[in-house]
Subunit: 246 residues, 2 copies
C-alpha cells in the first residue's frame, strides 16, 4: 500500500483519487474549523466553491437550521452568519445546524477529491482520529492520497507539515521508501526538521502570517492544538459529517 | 527582494515570472545534461515540447551540425542522435553543434518560464555559477523564481533539494522569512535535513529510482557532482546558450 501527498489540489486528476482513501488538509483553517463545528454538534457541513453557490444553496435548503459560513481573503463574508474561525464554532452557534461553507482554498481541495473511495477531513485538531482511520484503510488494502489545500494553488508549509505528521502517525516506523512518493518523503522530512511541536511550522507559514496581519493570530494558536477536536469528518454525498464508527 | 520556489511548473502563470529572474531546475537530468553539453562546447540547445516538434525543427534548420536529443520514459528516442544523459555530452559528440532537445519534464519547465526577465538553467553541476548570478540579480533589484521541473506535474525531491541549495547559496545567512515563500522555506528545510551531500536527497527521489531501474544509475552519480560543469546557461530567443559574462 502506498501513500501519496499532493501539495496543492491544482491539477489533481480524477484517476489519482479513484479507488483510494483521501485525507484533505487545510489546517489554517478550513479543516480545523470543520472539526470544531462537528465536534460541537453541527449536523453537517456542505462545502461549496463560490459565495453565489452558498447563497443559492441556502435559498434551496431554506433558512431552518442553516448557517452560511466561510471567508474571502481570510475575512468573514458580508451577510454570512459565521466566518472561518474554529473559535466561532461554539456549541451555542452550531449544534444541530447545517453549515454551508465556502473558503479560499479548503473547500476547493475537498471538492477536488470527490470520486475517491473515501474522503476524510484532517488537521492537527483530529490528527489521531485521522491516522487511526488511515491505518485501517491501509490494512484494508487501500492506497492513500493526502491532499493539501495549499495557498492559491501553491505550496503551503502549514499543510505540508500536517501531511507529514499524518504520514508519520499512520506508518510509524514501517517506513519503506517505495511506499511513499517524493512529496510524502519531503513531508516526513519536514517533520524531522521541525519535530512534533506544531507552533513553529504553522507559525512560519504565509497563511499564519496573513492571519496575524488581520488580527486572527488566535486561530493559529487554536489550530496548533493537537487532537483538540477529536472527530473524524467524512465527505460523502456532498456533505461533511462525523464518520460512523468502524 | 524575494525568492519564490515552485515545485512544479504546472499552472505557473505568465505574471508570476514576468520581470523576474528565473532559474529552472531538472537535476535528473535535463538541466544537468544542458550544462554538460554547453561546457563541452555545444553552440546552443533548442528546447522543444514534443518529439514531432524536434523532428520538424531538425528539418527546418537542416542537418548541418544539428543533433536531436532527449528522452521519453528516461530512454533515448528512436532515431535521435543522443539521449538525455550528461555522460553522452562529450566534447567529441557536441562541440560546435546545436542540440534540439525534448525531455519529459525539463524542457517543458524551461518553456513555461518564457516571458521572464531572465531565464537560467541550474543544477548541482553549475550551482556556484547559478548562485553567483542569482545574487547579482537580487543586488540589481530583481525578484527570483526557482522553477522545479518536478515529475509528471508533481513534486520531485531531487529538484526541491537542489532549489533549496540554490536558495541557501544565494542568500547565505541573510535569510529573512518575509523574503521567502512557503515553498522556498520548505526547500531550505530540506537542505537543513539532508546537509550538503547531494547523494542522499537525489538518490531517494523517484527520478533516481527510475534511472536505477533502467540501468542509468551512473547518471545520478554524475548529476550529484557539484560544480562539475561550471557554466551558466541562459535561455533567450528560444535557445539555451552560455550566458555572456557580467
Amino acid at each position: 500500500m502506498t501513500i501519496q501527498v499532493v501539495f496543492t489540489p491544482a491539477g489533481l486528476a480524477k484517476d489519482e483519487v479513484a479507488g483510494r482513501g483521501v485525507f484533505v488538509i487545510d489546517v489554517l483553517r478550513a479543516t480545523t474549523t470543520m472539526c470544531a463545528a462537528l465536534h460541537h454538534g453541527a449536523r453537517s457541513i456542505i462545502p461549496v466553491a463560490s459565495i453565489e453557490e452558498a447563497i443559492r444553496m441556502g435559498q434551496t435548503l431554506g433558512p431552518d437550521d442553516l448557517l452560511l459560513t466561510g471567508e474571502r481573503h481570510g475575512k468573514p463574508i458580508p451577510g454570512f452568519a459565521l466566518g472561518n474561525s474554529p473559535l466561532e464554532m461554539t456549541e451555542a452557534q452550531v449544534r444541530g445546524k447545517t453549515l454551508v461553507m465556502t473558503t479560499t482554498n479548503g473547500t476547493g481541495a475537498l471538492l477536488s477529491a470527490a470520486g475517491a473511495a473515501h474522503v476524510y477531513v484532517a488537521a492537527a485538531a483530529n490528527l489521531s482520529a485521522a491516522a487511526a482511520r488511515a491505518r485501517q484503510l491501509m490494512a484494508d488494502g487501500l492506497d492513500l492520497v493526502v491532499v493539501c489545500a495549499g495557498r492559491h494553488g501553491a505550496f503551503g508549509l502549514d499543510d505540508a507539515y500536517t501531511a507529514g505528521r499524518l504520514v508519520v502517525e499512520t506508518i510509524g516506523d514501517r517506513r519503506r521508501l517505495d511506499d511513499l512518493d517524493d512529496a510524502a518523503v519531503a513531508a516526513v522530512d519536514l517533520v524531522r526538521r521541525y519535530g512534533v511541536r506544531w507552533e513553529r511550522p504553522l507559525g512560519r507559514s504565509a497563511a499564519a502570517r496573513q492571519l496575524d496581519a488581520i488580527g486572527m493570530a488566535d486561530d493559529v494558536v487554536e489550530a496548533a492544538k493537537q487532537d483538540r477536536y477529536p472527530v473524524l469528518p467524512v465527505f460523502a454525498e456532498r456533505r461533511v459529517q462525523v464518520a460512523p464508527l468502524g
